[in-house]
């Protein structure tokens, strides 16, 4: 097998040009490995050759990003490399941004893979990990010897088109994708193993790390409710009978708004709850239970609210995807704003 050709990107410091005083250095290149590239080449072994090294000052890169990327990609062309390795950038923010930006541009321009390495505190991790394999490293160059073998291993796999394993096994930051695997042991056996480790105080690792959903802060009170335009919004799946727009009963991807102008009440039989996650008998018996139009009209007549908006908004909140629901919420909110609505009654199932 012909050795893979690797091109390596490093900053002015690791490139031997100088420290912070040389951070304005413009892009340049050297044949073969430089600085950490020498050890990288050793870890790559006979399977790959570091054919050249691209170097740029960190300040130059972040202050002239477009030019830097164009120049560096131009320089890289000389080497006709199979894979780009950038860094490790450890916890250096500018260096991390440079590594991630160049790696992303390289992948887009050449269609070939790139890999970099950073510490979890490097803002570049969040910026780039969904698009580029970012290997975990320690915070400083003291962890170089731990980062390089993993970086080299991943560069070889990506360069050869070999399937890359899970993030924890390969040592890169999760890219936001859960991929299926099949194991020998069933869930029951694995659960017992995991519990025994947890009980004995041994290290254990969850199979499903869960990110915080974040909290929604309550909105401040409506200053003058008696003058406010109020809308009815619901996730109850209440739609006109027959579900003309085909709202989903679960895992909804869409929302709709239906007119209520001139109506004081949602008549049974004309509306239907299209929701697969609750008993819809009571809503179908009286649709105002899900979209309280009758009560809202009384409040409108009494002057408690200024005016009821002439449509109600609906989606289905059942086995829903949280990201999709966040998108639907934002879209509805945008439409509410565009129609001058100041307050919403949000009814849930």
């Amino acid at each position: 097998m012909t050795p893979l050709k690797v091109v390596h990107y490093i900053n002015q410091f690791f490139g031997g040009i100088g420290g912070e005083d040389k951070a304005d250095a413009s892009p340049t290149y050297r044949s073969g490995p430089v600085g950490p590239g020498t050890a990288l080449a050793r870890h790559l072994g006979a399977g790959a050759t570091v054919v050249g090294t691209l170097i740029c000052g960190d300040n130059y890169f972040v202050e002239h990003t477009d030019e830097a990327v164009t120049e560096l990609l131009q320089l890289a062309k000389t080497y006709d490399a199979d894979v780009l390795v950038a860094g490790p950038a450890f916890s250096s923010g500018r260096y991390g941004t440079a590594c991630g930006t160049l790696a992303r541009a390289w992948q887009a321009e050449t269609g070939k893979p790139a890999v970099t390495a950073m510490n979890e505190n490097n803002p570049g991790v969040e910026l780039f990990r969904s698009e580029i394999h970012v290997v975990r490293s320690g915070p400083t160059a003291a962890s170089m010897s731990e980062a390089l073998p993993r970086l080299a291993a991943l560069a070889l796999k990506l360069g050869r088109g070999v399937e890359v394993g899970p993030a924890d096994a390969e040592g890169y930051f999760p890219r936001g994708v859960r991929q299926p695997l099949r194991l020998e042991q069933g869930a029951g056996e694995r659960a017992v193993e995991l519990l025994l480790a947890k009980l004995a105080g041994r290290p254990y690792r969850t199979e499903l790390p869960i990110e915080d959903f974040g909290a929604v802060p309550p909105a401040p009170p409506v200053p003058e409710l008696g003058r406010a335009v109020v809308a009815l919004v619901t996730e109850s799946g209440l739609v006109p009978h027959g579900n003309p727009d085909r709202l989903e009963t679960w895992n909804a991807s869409r929302w709709f708004k239906y007119p209520i102008a001139g109506l004081d009440d949602l008549e049974p039989g004309r509306y239907q709850a299209w929701h697969g996650g609750c008993d819809t008998t009571w809503t179908n018996e009286d649709p105002d239970r899900a979209v309280p139009l009758d009560a809202a009209r009384l409040l409108e007549k009494a002057g408690v609210i200024g005016r009821l908006y002439d449509h109600y908004y609906v989606t289905t909140g059942n086995m829903a995807n949280i990201k999709t629901m966040a998108r639907i919420g934002a879209e509805i909110a945008q439409d509410l704003r565009a129609n001058g609505i100041q307050a919403v009654v949000l009814t849930a199932t």
């Binding site: 099949r182 869930a187 029951g188 017992v192 995991l194 499903l208 869960i210 085909r246 679960w250 990201k323």
Partner: protein, 430 residues
């Protein structure tokens, strides 16, 4: 409480002049079984079909699945509360037809809607779907029920459950006098050294109403508060499923062969001390009830002296909140927990896989992404009906030819969520 479980391995099933078991072959008298399954008040007709592992056969409209079991001694009966008084089971000698399942297949006579409806989940006896559904590895006796005109869903559903249980008992009777079982297992708690960690199993089952319900000793569990069961009670049919959210359901067959209870028993008195089951329901109607349930689960586990808990849930969505409340309450009571879950992260695995979580749930075992789609091949034979309606076939209730090649996910497979867990499917961050 000691249960001796004697297994008679079924290697083939066939129709014959009389119902009998010999040499690994179960013969079935078709007319006898049809008569036993029937109920002239609510059931118009019962047909019986057989399906075995490896066949290019798809079974559709499956409600529950059971395994023939019978008590050899004592006063209790298997499937207590249905086939006899609700006397405590889980002790004495039980005989079973291993490798055999009795399936109910039917379409409900009245229209349904919302939560209270049947969700299609198919069984493929071979191919890529077989690993993601229950009863693809068993010889299946499929009872095909047709409702009598005028029967309500409740009357029909109740009648076919009892009919199927009668058939299950009749088939198990064939081994009452049979010589030498193929395997004998003894299940008992206790006998573990004092140094071994005390572990409970917390089983949160699904119950939302008619067609989405679970029975304990013959009764629906709507008003159940968390209660303590001996794991052996499952092996005698104390818990029966009436849940027709087919993809997420735990069929009675699976509870009789409970993969988590069996996993705990395998390590019992060696690596841990299995002390019992806390049985509870999910889908409580509001947050206070969910929290109440969680505290009662934790209290039951604490009073058993538990140090650790393996937890499972049946169902999804809303019931995650109940599940996570229990996890939190257990951890706060000083009981370390592990949860077994499915993931709903979308077809590509890029979305949030769960709808609720507690930071205390830091040791989760995943059965993988249930939304991942895969192809089922066309089949030579369909048992149970010519067409199926998937609650989401690319979006919305779509009627499709059941024999065709189909693109599905675990949502369209019978007990898909639990069988993915049981069969080693999982997911990792990539």
């Amino acid at each position: 409480m000691t249960l001796t479980l004697e297994s008679f391995e079924v290697r083939a099933v066939e129709f014959g002049p009389r119902t009998a078991f010999a040499g690994g072959v179960l013969s079935i008298d078709l007319e006898e079984i049809r008569r036993l399954a029937g109920d002239g008040r609510f059931i118009e007709d019962v047909q019986v079909e057989l399906a075995s592992p490896g066949e290019a056969t798809r079974i559709v409209h499956v409600l529950d699945a059971l395994e023939p079991r019978i008590k050899v001694d004592g006063e209790a009966v298997a499937f207590p509360g249905f086939l006899g008084p609700a006397r405590t089971v889980g002790h004495g000698v039980t005989r079973r037809l291993a490798g055999l399942a009795v399936l109910e297949s039917a379409e409900l006579p009245e229209p349904t809607g919302g939560i209270l409806e049947f969700n299609e989940g198919v069984i493929d006896m071979s191919g890529p779907g077989a690993d993601r559904c229950a009863c693809s590895t068993t010889h299946n006796v499929v009872l095909l029920f047709t409702a009598r005109r005028g029967a309500t869903n409740r009357e029909f559903e109740s009648a076919l459950r009892l009919g199927t249980l009668r058939v299950t008992r009749r088939l198990a009777e064939t081994v009452l006098d049979a010589p030498g079982p193929d395997a004998v297992e003894r299940f008992e708690l206790g006998g573990a050294g004092p140094d071994l960690p005390r572990v409970v199993y917390v089983d949160q089952v699904q119950h939302q109403g008619f067609l989405v319900q679970t029975f304990l000793y013959g009764q629906p569990i709507e008003h159940l508060v968390p209660t303590v069961l001996h794991p052996n009670e499952y092996f005698d049919g104390a818990v029966v499923s009436g849940n027709y959210r087919s993809m997420m359901k735990v069929p009675t067959w699976l509870r009789l062969n409970h993969p988590v209870i069996r996993a705990l028993y395998r390590r019992h008195a060696r690596d841990l001390n299995f002390i019992g089951v806390v049985f509870c329901r999910g889908h409580h109607g509001d947050h206070l009830l969910k929290e109440r349930n969680g505290h009662m689960v934790a209290n039951a586990a604490r009073m058993l002296g538990a140090e650790g808990a393996v937890m499972t849930l049946e169902g999804t969505g809303n019931t995650w909140v109940d599940f996570m409340q229990s996890a939190r309450a257990l951890e706060r009571a000083g009981i370390k927990t592990v949860q077994i879950v499915h993931e709903l992260g979308g077809p590509e695995g890029k979305d949030w896989p769960v709808v609720d979580y507690a930071p205390e749930a830091d040791a989760i075992v995943s059965g993988g992404g249930a939304d991942r789609r895969f192809a089922l091949p066309a089949v030579a034979r369909v048992v149970g009906g010519a067409e199926v309606v998937f609650s989401t076939a690319e979006g919305w209730g779509q009627r499709v030819n059941a024999a065709d090649s189909l693109t599905v996910s675990a949502h369209e497979m019978y007990a898909g969520f639990w069988m993915m867990q049981t069969n080693g499917f999982t997911a990792r961050d990539f």
